[in-house]
Amino acid sequence: MSAHHYLLVTLGLYAVGAFDMLAQAIMRRRLLTSWTVTATLVGFALHTASLSQRWRDAGHFPAVGLHDSASILAWAIVLVSLVVYVRTRVEALGLAAYPVAFGLVLIANLTPASESGDPMLQSLFLPIHAALAFFGYAALFLAFTMGVAYLVQERELKGRSPRAFYYLVPSLERCDTISGRSVAVGFGFLTLAIATGMLWSQSAHGRYWTGDAKEWAALAGWLLYVVLLVARRRTGWGGRRAALLGIAGFAAVVFTFVWMTVVSTSVGAAQ
């Protein structure tokens, strides 16, 4: 099977996992069924096969252009959410992660793979920089979803009217803790990704900083996360403020990603 066929089957399996979970959440408030688990695990295996096939076909690490970026981001999100699930046993993680993974794989299925013979892409910096960035994005995405879960549930609790989130997501304390740890891990990856990106830029263009909008957005997001982490450490503040700042930081990250994959078409911006 070709990379594209694998990706198509992956899409179907992720759809089963995501929709089963959402339906369960609405109908019964139980999240993880054997359907979701099986579909997601098999889907992830095929997704991995699709990416490795694609790597061979493209001749470079498949992280360039919307098709490849969406696919690999979905892959990283599923992997990170599975790892965090194994560590925390919080089923609600999949509530955002699986539908988003499905959406990203759908985008990947609908867009053509970009082909480029740019010698820059043969650099060893590409797999290192891209892998670091995508794992960072995935961890920060998870932090973002737990932040949203925190905010919505806090609203329900403060309004004294428990609704869906009250029954679906873990306690405020736990949402905050998982979000905080994910930010710390995601920030580490992001920092290394930015550093390797600059080294790559230096080796390719002779400049660490090209002034691209993507670079400024990455820096802005990185600074927001610095503020967030320092505030958590120093003043012990977490909860709502931390969740809001985490969401702002993630918005910058999303902008970086979108700018890199959609707006900017030059290969140089892919670093």
């Binding site: 109908m27 019964r28 428990p162 029954y167 405020l172 403020r241």
Partner: protein, 421 residues
């Protein structure tokens, strides 16, 4: 055959249920009388505040459930005719289904409440101790309790608190996660606040009790909770260290004002971003309602707690269908299994098998022997019949004996295997 007769919250009001209840100390003698008077192979009495039910097992299935109902009325000296409208009488599959549903808390007043499982277990234990439990009821107990546990673990029928004091604990867990080392501040020494505090302390929280006029009650409650007592004048300082405040005084006016909460949160040191959960279970209320608008403060009064309890109940009802399906499946499996153990059809099958073999062999013999005189024919019939009769005699008697003694179920399945049935 299993049958059940009884009353529950669905058919009878509390006074009637009380009138028909069996006090614990009279249970053993009541069980003995029940077996005697209703002619039962086994009996069990389930008597809780929400239901009084007699479970009976007998090989004489005729009017079994009526015999149970008769006994229920006679024991309490009430005429049957008067109670007919309230006493339900179930037999066979209906009774089995009912027993499964009761154990799984699907027939409870508060759907999914956990106590009924223990009560049913206890009722079977007492019947067993009194030597009243028969083999069918033992099997019913094992299967229905296992099904009830499955229903609890595999569906959300028992999830979410539905009583006010448990809702308070659930909310505390939703806000703080684990309760270990959280500080609970009790304002006033009311019964309800004591109850909620006990649950929290059980979860690992530390309690401080503020006394209203005198410290006596506060000291007593604090020692019961393993915490300490302080005067009401220390409210602000104590609240600064508290995560959860339960206020349940009998004061006519407000006890905790907005300024108190603001002052406490301002002096919390590094903790002023931590959430504060205020539970006001006093009527009239103790806490100024506008406190709820403060950042990081969660305020619930008695009505709010009830609203959450109602919402939780709706969540349980969503799970009820899944639990019903599971219990129905288990009950049907039990019924089928029971049917396979019945010795009456086993006997019938056994005799049929012997008769079939006799006929087949007789036909074969006739073909070999050619035409026979009527005398010879008769002699052949008589001889083969006698062989079958004599061979079947011992197993028939033994099987009937087993029926009488309440055979262990494994014997029947072993027999079936041996006989190839």
């Amino acid at each position: 055959m299993i049958a059940i007769a009884g009353v529950s919250h669905k058919t009878a009001d509390l006074p009637l249920r009380e009138a028909l209840a069996f006090p614990a100390d009279a249970l053993a003698s009541a069980l003995a009388r029940l077996r005697e008077e209703a002619g039962l192979g086994g009996a069990m009495i389930l008597s809780t505040c929400n239901r009084v039910e007699l479970y009976g097992q007998s090989d004489e299935a005729d009017r079994l459930e009526e015999r149970l109902a008769d006994f229920l009325c006679a024991f309490h000296g009430r005429p049957r005719s008067e109670l007919d409208a309230f006493v339900y009488r179930l037999s066979g599959a209906e009774a089995v289904r009912h027993a499964f549903r009761v154990a799984a808390s699907l027939d409870s007043m508060v759907l999914g409440e956990p106590q009924i499982l223990g009560q049913v277990k206890e009722a079977y234990r007492r019947a067993e101790e009194a030597g009243a439990l028969g083999s069918s009821l033992i099997a019913l107990r094992n299967r229905s309790l296992a099904a009830a546990k499955r229903a609890r673990s595999e569906t959300g029928i028992g999830n979410n608190a539905v009583s006010v004091s448990y809702v308070a604990v659930e909310l505390a867990r939703k806000i703080f996660g684990a309760l270990r080392d959280r500080n609970v501040l009790l304002v006033g020494t009311g019964k309800m606040s004591g109850l909620a505090a006990r649950h929290l302390v059980h979860g690992g929280a530390r309690a401080t009790v503020l006394g209203m006029r005198t410290l006596d009650h506060a000291v007593a409650l604090a020692s019961a909770l393993g915490g300490r007592a302080a005067p009401l004048s220390a409210l602000r300082e104590e609240m600064a260290a508290a995560d959860i405040v339960i206020s349940g005084t009998g004061a006519p006016g407000l006890v905790i004002h907005r300024q108190d909460v603001e002052a406490a949160r301002a002096t919390r040191g590094g903790r002023h971003h931590r959430p504060l959960f205020l539970i006001d279970i006093a009527v009239p209320r103790d806490v100024e309602p506008s406190v709820a608008r403060l950042d990081g403060v969660f305020l619930y009064d008695l009505d709010d707690l009830r609203t959450v309890a109602d919402a939780n109940m709706r969540e349980r009802r969503k799970e009820a269908a899944a639990a019903e399906a599971l219990v129905e499946r288990e009950a049907r499996e039990f019924l089928e299994w029971q049917k396979s153990l019945d010795v009456v059809p086993l006997l019938k099958e056994l005799r049929q098998r012997a008769e079939d073999i006799r006929r087949a062999e007789l036909d074969k013999a006739r073909r070999r022997l050619g035409p026979l005189t009527p005398e010879q024919e008769q002699a052949l019939e008589a001889a083969t019949e006698a062989i079958v009769q004599k061979l079947m005699h011992a197993p028939t008697v033994q099987l009937k004996e087993m029926v009488k003694n309440g055979h262990p179920p494994e014997h029947i399945s072993l027999l079936r295997k041996l006989l190839g049935l």
